[in-house]
């Protein structure tokens, strides 16, 4: 197959298209002289060529100099804050139609199908709000620490930004990422199946340093409550062990600039490895306590329904998971030949140590290359070579983390957790490739 109409820079990619029916008939009848007179590209390509060639005098994109080569360009600072090329306009955050009915309590998914490396551009970081977002005035924003501390305290942004800071790269994934797919395939592309995942460099202050200042009672106060300044004043319980490890940050920076308003400007909690709902945005208060709080998002939502009718409460860790982002659902391969299968792997329990890729639906696997950096509780990019022979294929990736945990299949996950959990679906994703080159979302046990 060849989706030749989609390909760039090949005037006529294959001889069967190059020759008319009449000309092909001439060849079959033995009029070989016809071929000798034909273009080089035609005679070279009776089989799949090692490298395709241009036919005719050449590619008009080369032969006819384009406007950008023959005219004056725009001045500096034409866009004081730079924006992506207009040709990239399709790669934006999108809602999944019908998933929610109110924009203020909804999700916009990151277009993973078009991203490279491990960092999510800040403007494409996924959004999940519980009662809309605000652009909070940083000069009026305060962080309060109270509860089991010697001194209840208040910090301004000036205070927090004067403290020693750290910058760390971590993934953030919503606990409900891939939640629509627990029972069956429901969405067409990786944007909607896995797009509640982003990875950024966050800058801020370890919460431990701030709790130390306030004289936290680490002996009795084994839990903290984080609370937002938005209308919902979202709350979540986080274990003190994570705070004590120094991992939990009170962050104001993201990818070199301040947090975006949709991501909690000017202050959010960073809780590496834990689902996004605990990374409280517009963070206004931390309370130290001796028991968990049973907040709305710990007692009504973000609870995982098991087959026995019990809900798992306080499930927080995002277990090891991976997905191939290209080629992926809703995409079309242009032709047979070489492809770079590329994807993302991450684990809430540490570093990804290995990713295996299968192109036959999980019968045989081979190790992918992990691209650097490979960081704890961050997205790791993997790549593997693939020469597509034009036959049907099923692409899968399977990640392993430093605890030895191997990403499970749908069959294994459902055997334990059923299909109604909504949350924490980290099953192996399958993309089916058919002869036309079309890639679609399927599930394999």
């Amino acid at each position: 197959m060849a989706n030749s109409e989609l390909r760039l820079g090949r005037i006529r990619p294959a001889p069967e298209n190059f020759l008319s029916d009449e000309q092909i008939q001439s060849v079959k009848e033995g009029r070989r002289d016809f071929l000798r007179k034909a273009f080089l590209g035609a005679s070279a390509a009776m089989a799949v060529p090692a490298m395709a060639r241009a036919a005719g005098p050449g590619d008009p994109a080369i032969l006819n100099l384009p406007a950008w080569t023959t005219s004056l360009g725009l001045p500096v600072a034409a866009n004081p804050y730079g924006m992506p090329s207009k040709y990239e306009r399709g790669l934006v955050r999108r809602e999944s139609p019908g998933l929610t009915r109110v924009g203020g309590s909804s999700v916009a998914f990151t277009p993973l199908q078009g991203l490279f490396g491990i960092i999510t551009p800040s403007g494409l970081h996924f959004e999940r709000h519980h009662q809309g977002w605000h652009d909070v005035d940083p000069s009026q924003h305060r962080l309060m620490i109270n509860g089991m501390v010697k001194t209840n305290a208040v910090f301004t942004m000036d205070d927090l930004m004067r403290l020693p800071s750290v910058s760390r790269i971590h993934f953030i994934e919503c606990g409900a990422n891939t939640g629509m797919e627990w029972g069956n395939v429901a969405v067409p592309t990786v944007q909607y199946s896995h797009g509640m995942l982003s990875c950024s460099e966050f800058t801020g202050v370890p919460l431990k340093a701030i709790l130390d200042m306030c004289g936290a009672d680490y002996k009795k106060g084994r839990f903290i409550l984080a609370e937002g300044a938005d209308g919902s004043s979202m709350t979540r319980t986080i274990p003190m062990e994570m705070v004590e490890s120094g991992e939990v940050l009170v962050a104001y920076g993201m990818n070199g600039e301040m947090l975006r308003p949709e991501n909690g400007y000017p202050l959010r909690l960073v809780v590496p490895g834990v689902q996004g709902v605990s990374w409280v945005k517009w963070l206004r208060r931390i309370e130290v306590g001796d028991k968990p709080w049973g907040a709305k998002d710990e007692a009504v939502h973000y609870i995982d329904l098991m087959p026995d009718g019990l809900h798992r409460q306080y499930s927080s860790v995002q277990e090891c998971k991976s997905v191939i982002t290209t080629p992926s659902g809703g995409q079309i391969l242009l032709d047979k030949g070489f492809y770079n299968i590329s994807g993302m792997a991450w684990s809430g329990r540490g570093k990804v140590t290995r990713v295996d890729v299968s192109v036959d639906g999980g019968i045989n696997w081979r190790p992918a290359r992990l691209e650097t950096p490979v960081l704890s509780k961050a997205v790791t990019r993997f790549n593997v070579d693939w020469v597509w022979d034009g036959k049907p294929a099923i692409l899968q990736s399977r990640a392993v983390d430093e605890t030895g945990y191997v990403q499970p299949s749908y069959g294994q996950l459902r055997a334990v957790r059923g299909t109604k959990s909504i949350y924490h679906n980290n099953a192996i994703q399958s993309w089916k490739v058919v002869e036309s080159g079309e890639v679609s979302n399927v599930q394999v046990l």
């Binding site: 790669l91 208040v154 709305k296 306080y314 277990e319 599930q443």
Partner: protein, 358 residues
Amino acid sequence: MSRFSKTLMALFVGGATMAALAPAMAFDRYQGIGRPATASEVKAWDIDVRPDFVGLPKGRGTVDQGVELWETHCASCHGAFGESNEVFTPIVGGTTQDDIKTGRVKALVTGDAPQRSTLMKVPTVSTLFDYIQRAMPWTAPKSLKPDEVYAILAYILNLADVVPADFELSDENIREVQERMPNRNGMTTDHGMWPGAGAAKGGIGNGGKPDVKNVACMKDCKKEVQIVSALPDYAQDAHGNLAEQNRPVGQTRGKQTGTPAEQKGDAAPSAAAATLALANEKGCMACHGVSNKIVGPGYNEILAKYKGQTDAEAKLIAKVKAGGQGVWGAVPMPPQGHVKDEEIKQLVQWILEGAKAQ
């Protein structure tokens, strides 16, 4: 107090009051950073209520009082009986008297209920109090007084027969109500996904042991590949044109699906576009689509109904201002006091001209 720097002291207005409050903040290392919170400040923000009712304010409210508050503040999103599935998932439904006795919602075990309501899931009545107090009503969070929260909560609990119709809920009897919560025994923390200490060490869960195990087999791992699910036909076009959601260069293209989006012009926003923006800003679009019903009717449905009526504009302006119920269904439209008269007029005229985007 002697440990505070002079700079910090200078920040205190009414320093004497502050001094009385605040002993030992460890400022030695980070001098001049942060300050003690006043008791009033902590009171203003520390509104959380825990399952053991730490943080619960004193107060009381009856089911009857709750009915009235519900109709004013809650019914437009949640339906008159908390059963509505139109804006949010239902609050009430799917629980039985037997569940109240056992503390386990049977429909969760049998899978009988098509949708899980809040009362089917929530184990702790404190959670409901906490969330109503901190986040409700939707467009005016934290505007309810404690007595009002008690009353609204009493009404919700009465809808599921957790409390009788003549009940007054208060800080004194809420512990007894907890013992009637239909799913109070429906939670488990016996799992490996709590990132802190396990239950054996005073925390939650099993200490991080995963429940699902796979092995990294590399060769001949299974005999055949069984595809158990694929994207259903009806869902093929549900997410718009995938060709437009992919890059125009690279190793793949997006598949053409759905109806390609209309080419958008670069012209300056028209009066219609400005009114559409106003409708978005004022929250109208949360409940009304241009052509489709969301909670209330679509604008074009309204136009079809009122077309040709000479007093249509006046009628609709009155409806937007005062609210209404029954014309389009049971879910009432609340009065839109936050929208100015001239803006209401602009919006109504726009609706009667077809609610155009440009």
